[in-house]
Assembly symmetry: C2
Homo-oligomer: 204 residues x 2
Amino acid sequence: MREELQALKRERIVAEAVRLFYERGYTGTTLDDVAAALGVTKPFIYTYYSGKAELLAAICQPTIELSLLALTEAVESPGTPAERLRGAVGGVTRVVLERQAQIAIFFREEKQLAPDAMDRINTLRRGFDRRLAGLIAEGVAAGAFAVDDPAVTALALGGMISWTYTWHRTHGRLSVEALCDHMADFALGMVGARLPAPVAVAAE
Amino acid sequence: MREELQALKRERIVAEAVRLFYERGYTGTTLDDVAAALGVTKPFIYTYYSGKAELLAAICQPTIELSLLALTEAVESPGTPAERLRGAVGGVTRVVLERQAQIAIFFREEKQLAPDAMDRINTLRRGFDRRLAGLIAEGVAAGAFAVDDPAVTALALGGMISWTYTWHRTHGRLSVEALCDHMADFALGMVGARLPAPVAVAAE
DNA sequence: CCTACCGATCGGTAGG
DNA sequence: CCTACCGATCGGTAGG
């Protein structure tokens, strides 16, 4: 019970920090602002986080972990390379769009993270790039994709996906699912596997 | 002569600010830092710029203008849609890589710009997206490209290009020209015009 | 082009 | 005695 309350309070603090850091930037937001938005005072935050930088890490790290998780699940699922790439790109795009504010904060405020938090996150990111490059290389080996350089392709693809946080509007004309689909189409085009049937059933 | 000196001093101030803002972030850099790096004191900077935010705008705006210029030149040059798309993607990627620090500063510190500077730059960016979407739509109309939504394709493509500032290393294994070429290949794949001969000479 | 200085505001912590 | 929190204020630094 006490632990549940603690966890709830930590979540509420992070949620309010996300909102304010996203709107005003990290240095443009004071811990007093975050506390005021919660109806408490600043020392309350210090009971749950050691400082402003730890709050930033608590916003960024779980979000990067989710992206890597979405990628890993798709890469390790059964299917052809094209099917798994489609699943991977759609899944990661979905995480980026669901956590748009957290992603924006991470890319904008990367430099403000403590060195150890930065190191942990950079390890996750390298794992992301390696796994995506691995899937692409697998498709090339299977003759399903045609790319010169799987590592560069993975970086370009990762950029295309990440960047959606800058322009997708939640209430715009394009739904999250429609955009995930578009991104998957683009990815298949990039690797030279243009639009195979998502479920490739051989004729009866 | 006096004007040349003034222009030189303004350039030196901006160059040093680029270096420091890139390394330490905008709020992490003081105007005293910039002045010290130049071997002068802070009031010197105020002789040439009205404040820290104007210095930031002087870094960002010309760089976004260069990107738009590179795109416009390629779009308006002669050639097939595929040739012009190749030129556009290569040209814009080249600007991004040549101005890596300025691009990084812009995307990280966007929120710190004065509203009017932000407005001017946003107008340029909308022009960029519109022109790129226009070229893609032209290719679709000519039957050279196959995409559902030229506007979304332009945004995805723009993201893939912009993002290179985060991962390209000037002294890494991939030269600027090689990367520009890769990006152009990816772009043609995305629009469903996979790898046409760059110079399409009909057989003699 | 500098020395000298301001108004304000910040992140973090004391005592109770 | 503790945990959880508040009112007040600290040292240090920012832009100008």
